[in-house]
Symmetry: C2
């Protein structure tokens, strides 16, 4: 931090922001508990708790004193050093969001979110997109209004993207995704048409009968070795895996399927990537721009880097394969090391995003981005989404949905107005690959570290260059600072071509 | 509820009280999570969360609008029916407590509570009562000041008792405990001098090697059969067993010791008694006098009734013994049914309250009450506590502590200013015995129900006459209404003489 005296207003601002964030962390815990522990009959009571906490937190976030402090600090920007300016910038953004949305709008959006979820669930079950059309139209209208309240009525989709990834715009994503699409579509075709693809899938299917207790022991050892600090976190079971919390209390979840032992393992390593990021944020600054993550794309880059670049590597399994076989001698006897590696990197094009492998996953995201962009630009009507989806699926994935359940109705995100979120997943993959390329230059023997079970260099590097930076910089600027170049999809394509080309096109 | 129109002020009061209580329930969950789930490194973060929740809850409890509503409702008492009057009475009490204690006093008390705990832990470890004297003196002074702020400076110990059990006074406890002491001291002598006492202890010690998983299955079956609704609650593991939450989310904890299989079982049944009470409170009224328990003594009566009168009975084990033996065939082969029953009802005088059986436990409480009473009356100086404790232990338990760790330093309660809490434990035993006498008159075949594994009549009766009553009446009035007579220790003495006399003096 540069040496500028911290004015009293700045200290008070930080104290108030952190207090509000502490209230937010209580709601986060309620959310975690709801997924992990809540008795079935307590849903209504939990909703009442979350509602009153939302009220209390909104009061803290929109505290007029924060507004006065911001005005005072913004009036004299020269008194702030770079870190402080970043804190004030983020605080202004949060304060505007808390105060500029009219209470009636916030209520309407919350009610619509709940209605939308149920309408989506019904429409999906019945494969009835027509019944879902009014919901999506309403959600689009609300998104536009929200952007307008925040002064972004001219570019509502940019507003949505910026909500998840500060600084991101549709133009940037469009350029990155176009380039990615150009190179990735043919690669996916080559891989999936390779006869080895079917071999990989059949090999993966031979890994069955792994008791949950052994899976739990193994993934605990693996995630701890990678660097997750169980003194400051835990892992539990929930229906949908996630990672919650920050600082000294980071909680991941997983779920065990005896016939898909790689699911819980890679899912947990993915959540560990998120968890390592949260554990690596500077504790003293939690809640301010210096102590929160740099957006969802950067977050996703951390989970994907550990899950894919690291844990699907041959070197990683040089370290862990013996223990895996020791814990599951009979179950692993059906595959040799090469086969295990192939199973870990099985590729199968599917219409369903959440079932996609790391190669094809990106195309699912490109598809959604292109549709969102056209929806917001007014170039595509909601009622025409199913046809547009089918066309895009054929073009990008080479598959055509037999119905809307396999198409436009598969994701929950839009039902609650969650536009602009999908791109983060693919941008995270790009960032991960670009970071991966960078660390291999900096430390050519990195994979030898892994083979020895040593992940300290990589984690230390991420801690220093990513985690400890918080939200000082927009994610794309942070990528540039850390890797020395603008974000580009070429590293992702090169990484995929190298790893999967070697396995499937060799 | 009588037919009086509910004024708007009353509805608003209830809404505000329930909102504050919902915030309180969030803090309760944080407390539960701290004992059950918290990563070791997250203690500081949890303390920060609890502190900000305490602030927020204090703001809700001391909301000036509640004061205005109370004044309005109290100005026209004829407009309120009996239930509403009870709600207003309790709300007034809570509001005064939230508003009449100066913030500096609340801070001082909180700081002293934390200091006191650590001073106690050090003093106990070092058997150094002298170092603890200033803490207790300070705590007594704070208790007196607190009573004075609430207008009870004339009777600070009555104030402390009333905090835990509305309506209770030292004079009432004194009369009840004197009578109990007169009859119980000789009974304890008779039992503990019986040669069967040593047989019972040796028999209990033969029950060893019970794996935790089997204990967990068994106590889950037992507590569910008794009536605990696991759709609205759960049981987990913690260092110290407790029960937390209310309504649709009641959480109990236990702990497993392979060599003391009866500990987790009876501890869980005890917590189940608390849990059944909380699950039986009227959900719509949670947080008001109609939806909160009638005080700690009544709460304890519910836990003790199920733990002792019900679960230590022969009839109860007619139902569960076969399953117990099925789950633990080798471990239970060392005792026949009579021996098992004796082990379940083993009696051993001890200097340590928390290790005491249900017979001698009461005398530990009488001892503490008599000392508290004299401390508050100014008849006993803090520095003279160790000698007074030794004298009382000899008189009541027939044992003399070798040091203060076995005496005055054994309990944590006073270190945090928790005076007036101990009596609830023994009053709970008295109430349980009096309820037990009453239900046996009402349903002479009650124990036949138990032998068939049927607890619905007893639970239904408690639901109707105790749980659904909330805090409408002071606990002692509720006892009178339900049993037709004033609370008296004679039922407890008679119950103990019957059950333990039969086993030890037959």
């Amino acid at each position: 931090m540069d040496a500028v005296t911290s004015p009293a207003a700045y200290s008070e601002l930080v104290q108030r922001i952190q207090r509000a964030r502490t209230l937010g962390s209580v709601s986060d815990l309620l959310g975690w508990d709801e997924q992990v522990n809540l008795p079935p009959g307590a849903a209504e009571q939990r909703a009442a708790q979350l509602a009153v906490m939302a009220e209390v937190q909104h009061a803290a976030d929109s505290d007029a004193r924060i507004g006065a402090l911001l005005a005072e600090l913004e009036a004299n920007p020269a008194a702030l050093n770079g870190d402080q300016a970043a804190v004030v910038r983020q605080a202004r953004k949060d304060y505007d969001r808390a105060t500029r949305l009219p209470p009636e709008f916030v209520r309407e959006k919350a009610a619509q979110g709940s209605r939308g979820y149920h309408a989506w669930a019904r429409a999906r079950a019945a494969d009835d997109f027509a019944s879902y059309v009014p919901v999506l139209e309403k959600n689009l209208e609300l998104a536009r209004r929200e952007a307008a309240y925040l002064g972004r009525g001219d570019a509502p989709y940019d507003y949505m993207l910026d909500e998840h990834d500060p600084g991101l715009t549709a133009a940037v994503v469009d350029r990155l995704f176009s380039e990615l699409k150009r190179d990735l579509v043919p690669l996916v075709r080559e891989i999936t048409q390779s006869p080895r693809a079917e071999v990989a899938r059949r090999t993966a299917a031979r890994l069955t009968g792994f008791p949950a207790a052994g899976q739990r022991d193994f993934l605990r050892e693996v995630t701890e070795r990678i660097g997750f600090d169980y003194q400051r976190g835990r892992i539990d079971v929930s229906l949908h895996p996630f990672c919650s919390g920050s600082g000294s209390d980071v909680r991941m979840t997983t779920r065990y399927r005896e016939d898909q032992p790689l699911d819980a393992l890679f899912g947990s390593i993915h959540e560990t990537g998120h968890g390592l990021y949260e554990q690596g944020l500077p504790a003293a600054h939690l809640g301010t721009a210096l102590g929160i993550h740099a957006g969802m794309a950067m977050h996703e880059s951390q989970s994907r880097l550990w899950e894919n670049q690291v844990a699907r590597s041959r070197a990683f399994w040089r370290c862990f394969e013996p223990r895996f076989r020791e814990l599951f001698p009979a179950q692993t006897a059906v595959v040799n090391s090469d086969e295990l590696h192939l199973a870990i990197n099985a590729v199968e094009p599917t219409l369903i995003r959440v079932e996609a492998d790391e190669v094809t996953y990106n195309l699912h995201i490109v598809l959604r981005f292109e549709l969102e962009k056209r929806l917001f630009a007014g170039e595509l009507a909601v009622r025409d989404l199913p046809a547009a989806w089918r066309t895009a699926a054929r073009e990008l994935l080479g598959l055509e949905p037999a119905n809307d359940r396999e198409g436009v109705l598969q994701d929950v995100h839009w039902s609650g107005g969650g536009f602009g979120y999908f791109p983060s997943y693919c941008l995270g993959n790009m960032i991960a690959a670009q970071l991966w390329a960078r660390v291999q230059v900096l430390r050519p023997g990195l994979e030898d570290d892994f083979a020895r079970g040593d992940f300290t260099w990589l984690l230390g590097w991420l801690r220093e260059h990513i985690h400890s930076q918080g939200r000082r910089y927009p994610a794309l600027e942070l990528v540039r600072r850390v890797t020395g170049e603008d974000l580009s999809p070429r590293h992702l394509v090169a990484y995929l071509r190298k790893r999967y080309g070697g396995l499937y096109l060799g």
